[in-house]
């Protein structure tokens, strides 16, 4: 409020000193005002280009899924479900531990695998495998899934997200790189 008070005082003084403003002068001031406003609208539009461009850039640079190795198939005995982890293919040094993403690998037999995302399809919490009950259970809201990823009970709207898999030279690869959500279903098989 302080800075406004002196300006309020000085304005009328200046007017009184110069007498009544001439019409020509007024129209020139109007002209300058409009030019000034116009230039600022233009400049505002200009500066918003890099700002919005930077903000929305993540949407343009869509990272396609990349094949990531989960190791030799021998690491996953037939008929078992095991926790595995991989490095986010797009990670940077500053990502620290968040670059390591876990997933559940179920080897049915031979090269017949299912790889499930760790995230519950309800609200993304990490599901845990219970070997004896042959169920994945979620610690957040009580969702449960069968060993093949099908929804068993609780609030999840669908079965577990699965990764696309490939076995090349005895090594298990998955297509990875995004956090699976209900919106990214296109990237993940529906179980």
């Amino acid at each position: 409020m302080n800075p406004s008070s002196p300006s309020e005082e000085t304005k009328p003084c200046a007017c009184e000193g110069s007498g009544a403003p001439e019409p020509a002068k007024k129209s020139r001031r109007d002209f300058l005002f409009h030019i000034g406003m116009g230039l600022n609208v233009l400049a505002g539009a200009l500066i918003s280009v890099p700002i919005l461009g930077y903000l929305l850039g993540v949407l343009v640079n869509k990272t396609p899924l990349k094949p990531v190795s989960l190791g030799k198939v021998e690491n996953f005995p037939e008929g078992t479900t095991r926790l595995a982890s991989y490095e986010n293919p797009y990670h940077r040094d500053v990502d620290g531990p968040t670059a390591h993403i876990p997933c559940w690998v179920r080897r049915i037999q031979g090269n017949d695998f299912q790889v499930f995302a760790i995230n519950c399809t309800h609200l993304g919490c990490p599901v845990r495998w219970f070997e004896e009950a042959k169920l994945f259970m979620c610690p957040c809201h009580g969702g449960a899934f069968y060993q093949d990823g099908r929804h068993a009970s609780g609030p999840p709207p669908r079965g577990l997200y699965t990764y696309e898999i490939q076995v090349i030279n005895g090594e298990l690869f998955i297509m990875a790189g995004i956090l699976p959500t209900l919106a990214s279903e296109g990237h993940h098989d529906k179980v």
Partner: protein, 507 residues
């Protein structure tokens, strides 16, 4: 000496116009009866915000907003930096108490009708301040960057992913990429430290400016009704009759309560300490129970208890509708009675909302819907539920424990509460019904048919039939009436209750 002091003050007053500033701000007149204990919560909320800014600025000395470093700087702040733990604790408790003060302030404003004409905009800016404060609270729990922060982000992304059509875009914008990484933390850091506090300062400025322009609400009197045509004149009269300058005459109770608020924050911080950090944000450590901070536990509970068909609406649409309702409130309810003594619906809504928030928070805290992940190894079956059982029944108890049933089913109150307590299940379901439930599942229970051998099912059913209070007979199916008492010479009632076609049911 006094003369000199007056001269110095006069000089500053001439340059800075302090007297005039005082008259227009802190010295503005308020209705005499508004200098009440009910009117202290707004200033207490502002005080909490100032404490948050000061302590937050200091925490930022050491904090590094990178997914790689954040956790170790938290460790440094908590265990090495001198008084770092206490500053963290003040920041944490300051946020808790800020939220509490704000909600009490809002409730008081609602009950005293202060949002009505001509203070609609004061209320609306207040609603945005509420949103900013909750935003600061959510982004603040991410700053700890521990396991709860990581999975909390996952939950946020999962909710955002339910947005129709643009779900992917919303998730990507929120996370700053396709996955939770350092970019995500950077975004939340910027929001928490720059954007939201800046917005709060701007909104508080408007909020207070409006308080000065429209005056503090007079203490409502039952029967004194707000009319747009007459209210301004009436308020002027109240000010003329009873007005006192807010500073120094009306501020006494605010000052006392402010001091109390500071002491409360300091005491909570000293007694309870800072929250976390829990384990590091290491996604591969999946042995975790993600829970939001206190203020969002009720949302966590609602997310668990909503019927599935309501979820997208409840998570995405309902919050928006709720906020729109709050913004619209002074426009459709801007006149009329102010006193809560004549507004029973207002009083009932407040009671209902606080009770619901409290109840859902409590439920979120206990989360009975969550399986207890280690009950099957950690919670043995209490002795009285094993005494005097046959070998087959005992074998069933072993199956019950090993197949991890206890994660969801308590016995004697111990174990998970996702499903019903099994202590007296034998009195509720007969052998057939038990077998059907185990094998086919249903009613929120997974089916175990592929996972149990016939022998295991036999043993399990025998054990569960034996689980019933003393002197109570096993449950019977009403479609298979009990064999009349005359015929039952043998006392094997349990077997009598088992119809011969149970084998057919099982397959």
């Amino acid at each position: 000496m006094i003369e000199l002091g007056k001269k110095v003050y006069g000089w500053f007053d001439d340059r800075l116009k302090l007297t005039r500033l005082h008259e227009h701000t802190a010295g503005h007149p308020i209705p005499g009866n508004s200098a009440s204990w009910f009117y202290v919560f707004g200033s207490a909320t502002l005080l909490c915000f100032i404490i948050q800014v000061v302590t937050g600025s200091m925490l930022a000395f050491s904090y590094v907003p990178s997914a790689k470093e954040a956790y170790s700087t938290l460790q440094f702040l908590t265990f090495e930096a001198p008084l770092g733990w206490y500053l963290r604790a003040i920041h944490y408790w300051g946020s808790n108490i800020m939220c509490a003060m704000m909600l009490i302030h809002m409730t008081q404003v609602y009950l005293f009708g202060a949002y009505k004409y001509p203070r609609e905009l004061t209320w609306v800016t207040g609603v945005f301040l509420l949103l900013c404060t909750l935003g600061a609270a959510f982004t603040g729990q991410v700053m700890r960057f521990d396991e709860d922060a990581y999975w909390g982000l996952g939950i946020g992304a999962a909710i955002a992913g339910r947005t129709p059509v643009f779900g992917n875009e919303v998730v990507t914008l929120m996370l700053g990429g396709p996955i939770i990484a350092s970019e995500t933390l950077g975004r939340f850091f910027s929001l928490h430290v720059f954007v939201i506090p800046g917005a709060i300062i701007a909104l508080v400025s408007i909020h207070l400016r409006l308080v000065l322009l429209k005056g503090i609400n007079e203490y409502p009197k039952p029967g004194r009704v707000v009319r747009k045509e007459t209210y301004d004149r009436e308020y002027d009269e109240i000010i003329k009759r009873t007005g006192i300058p807010f500073f120094p005459n009306g501020i006494g109770k605010d000052l006392i309560f402010s001091a109390f608020t500071i002491v409360l924050i300091l005491a909570c911080a000293a007694i309870f300490g800072p929250k976390g950090p829990l384990g590091p944000a290491e996604p591969t450590e999946i042995d975790t129970l993600p829970r939001p901070d206190f203020y969002f536990l009720w949302i966590f509970a609602v997310a668990a208890l909503m019927p599935v068909w309501l979820e997208d609406f409840g998570l995405l649409v309902a919050p928006v509708l709720g906020i729109l309702f709050l913004i619209a409130l002074p426009f459709f309810n801007g006149t009329g009675e102010k006193s809560w003594r004549r507004r029973p619906v207002a009083v009932l809504s407040v009671i209902l909302i606080w009770l619901s928030l409290g109840l859902f928070t409590w439920l979120g805290y206990t989360s009975p819907w969550s399986p207890v992940m280690n009950a099957w190894t950690g919670d043995p079956i209490p002795e009285e539920f094993l005494k005097g059982r046959t070998p087959l029944e005992l074998q069933g108890a072993v199956v019950l424990q090993n197949k991890q049933c206890r994660n969801c089913h308590a016995i004697g109150g111990i174990g998970g509460h996702r499903g019903p307590d099994l202590s007296d299940v034998g009195a509720r379901l007969n052998r057939d019904q038990l077998i059907r439930q185990v094998i086919q599942g249903g009613g929120n229970m997974p089916a175990y048919g592929k996972n149990l051998s016939p022998a295991e099912v036999d043993a399990l059913a025998a054990y569960m039939v034996s689980l019933r209070p003393e002197g109570i007979k096993p449950a019977r199916d009403s479609t298979h009436p009990a064999i009349p008492p005359k015929v039952t010479k043998e006392k094997k009632e349990e077997h009598a209750a088992v119809p011969a076609d149970s084998e057919a049911d099982r397959s």
